[in-house]
Amino acid sequence: MTSPRRRRLDSVAGQVFKAAGIVALGIAVLFPIYWMAVIALTPTGFSRSLTSLVPAEVTLENFVTLFTERPMLRWLWNSIIVAAASSFLSLAFGTSCGYALSRLRFRGAGLVLILVLATQMMPATSIVVPLYILFRDFGLLDTMQGMVLGHVSLVAPLAIWMAKGFFDSIPADLEGAARIDGCTRLSAYWHVALPLAMPGLAAIFIYGFVTSWHDFLFAKTLINSQALWTAATGISSFRGEYFTLHELQMAAALTFALPVVIVFLVMQRRIVSGALSGSVR
């Protein structure tokens, strides 16, 4: 039998080991981000011949150029609107669909799941022309609505699968109890199942936001007018025909990450809230 003291020592050693692991893994994972920052702080054009681990000459010029010579703020704003709208819609559509697939027994549910997944398997190149024609025919070209719709279709499949997974792990008895109390199916879903699945929903929201934030296919193909360009299109435009403006592009990419970081910081609390622990089981 181990003594309580020994066990505490063990856990201290475990903590130190874990902390060291986090730091080591963190450094490895963050190094490319650090390198992006180094490039972003280097004068335009000079990043290709960096020879040390720290920038030889630090300048904020690239960030200034970004906001003065390029409409970075407008690009970001467009991205925020589209990402917020499409991640919210994907969450709403995806979780309800996932819930239905988890709780309602009907024939063909498995087929629906596979078909949903299959929509993501086609390489973009093969559907881009039909997609363009479709959006043109429905007047969705060059509109925010069109982009949002496109992004929902990118996020929904995983949202459905994930939501089904999370609902599968929640015992159905709780909703059963609520239904006996006179709740409709809808309100049992809304008041009982959804709150329990909160960590998963938060993760799905983050996934939806980032996926929309990054989308380049819909943003570049279906949007023609520069007033509607998203930040993803803007950033890729620094990879020009004659020069790749690495420094500007890295500065833009770092700025581009900020809204995602904020969304993550807000939502990650929800992930932790872990409604399932404790009384539920």
Binding site: S49, R70, N224, T244
Partner: protein, 416 residues
């Protein structure tokens, strides 16, 4: 545009067409590259606003990043929704023409007197079987650019003027640190898996007196000049005096910031250096390409009209505005390219940018990048040629062998 009344009005307008298409309220779309970027983008914006002020028509720009332009052009063409005005170049003109996308411009050009406003030879690469399909806007060739400060340090007073000299200079100009790592390359030479690598070999093949095809359009990749050209590239590559595997755009930055001593490239290097490396700008000089015979290049942006446009005269008025003296003389203030308008470059503009002279000198005579007679297959041909180049450079396959393979593949895929 769909109502019959409007069409009737339009027909009337054609009959009455004045230089700037007098009827108002037409709307034309324009597939444009980097409309919002400083430089050339400023000129496009000026063109659009001048056109709108002159005609009362509106232009709806479809802005696309340079790297996405070709794809967008094809997607819109394939779905039958091409813009009224398209930016094209000789490398994709053939493809767009085969796809039935381009409107013949001969009559309109003849009626409007546009022909004389463009320099001799300017129309050539945009003319297929006697029919012209686009108005040349920008041109570029590849000429020698060198860092004269580095050359002086190494004891050279003149830039290289033969392929052999180019190699010798590059060797002398390469500097390594104590660990044997190169800190400065002697020269740039694109050798990544991208189409500029195709032009590198074309350039050296011309230097050795040949080309990729004979005058009848038969491929000659296995001919001696091309083999010599590839062996020359191999000599540069193996000497370790050019960056390996780096893309063209990255090599340009490297040169502009002092990491390379010489390059054979376009004039856009200079404004970039002026803006980003101003302290050393005076070191950078240009000279004609280091061989006898033509350089490579030609038109790289031209304006064409969609064959399916429902406002042809409004679209042509846009081309006229672009070719007008007003726009052509403003060109050089925004763009590093050589304009095609007659007398578009004033003496003051030339005096302000003496570095442009080699490009001006070679602008009418350059050897086209796409193989004559195979212009609509450029995007099929270049990967085959680049494969052969990389096979020799990286895997040491003898030039004769890899080029013979490429010749066979080209004959299979693309012979007429």
């Amino acid at each position: 545009m769909k109502s019959p009344i409007k069409s009737a009005l339009l027909a009337g307008a054609v009959a009455l067409a004045t230089p700037f298409g007098a009827h108002a309220q037409d709307e034309i779309s324009f597939l444009v590259i980097d409309y919002e970027a400083p430089g050339m983008g400023d000129w496009w914006q000026l063109l659009v606003s001048t056109y709108e002020a002159n005609t009362g028509n509106t232009v709806v720009p479809r802005n696309t990043p340079a790297r996405e332009y070709y794809e967008q052009l094809l997607i819109q063409a394939a779905s039958g929704t091409g813009a009224d005005i398209l930016i094209v170049n000789p490398n994709n003109l053939g493809e767009m023409l085969a796809a039935g996308q381009l409107m013949p411009l001969n009559d309109l050009i003849a009626d409007s007197g546009l022909e004389e406003r463009i320099v001799d030879g300017g129309w050539d690469s945009l003319t297929v079987d006697g029919t012209t399909y686009a108005l040349p806007i920008t041109g570029r060739t590849l000429e020698l650019i060198y860092n004269s400060c580095y050359l002086e340090e190494a004891g050279f007073t003149e830039p290289p003027s033969t392929p052999q000299e180019f190699l010798d200079y590059a060797k002398a100009l390469t500097i390594t640190d104590e660990s044997g790592r190169v800190t400065r390359y002697g020269a740039n030479m694109v050798n990544a898996n991208e189409d500029p690598t195709y032009e590198m070999l074309l350039m050296w093949s011309i230097a050795f007196g040949g080309s990729y095809a004979d005058e009848n359009g038969n491929f000659t990749l296995d001919s001696q000049p091309v083999i010599d050209g590839l062996n020359h590239m191999k000599a540069l590559y193996d000497a370790g005096v050019v960056p390996k595997g780096m893309t063209e755009t990255d090599q340009r930055s490297l040169f502009a910031t002092g990491g390379t001593a010489m390059t054979i490239d376009g004039q856009w290097q200079f404004p970039f250096i002026e803006e980003n490396n101003p302290d050393n700008f005076d070191c950078y000089k240009s000279a004609s390409h280091p061989w006898d015979g033509p350089g490579t290049g030609g038109v790289n942006m031209a304006l064409a009209i969609n064959a399916a446009t429902d406002a042809p005269e409004a679209a042509f008025a846009f081309l006229e505005t672009a070719a007008s003296e007003e726009m052509q003389s403003a060109f050089s203030d925004h763009s590093p390219y050589i304009p095609y308008g007659v007398g578009a470059l004033t003496d003051e503009q030339r005096a302000a940018r003496p570095y442009l002279e080699p490009w001006i000198a070679s602008s009418g005579t350059a050897h086209p990048v796409a193989i004559p007679g195979h212009a609509d297959q450029f995007n099929e041909i270049w990967p085959i040629v680049v494969d052969a180049i990389l096979l020799t450079l990286r895997d040491g396959v003898p030039a004769e062998e890899s080029l013979a393979q490429a010749q066979t593949r080209l004959e299979e895929c693309c012979s007429n």
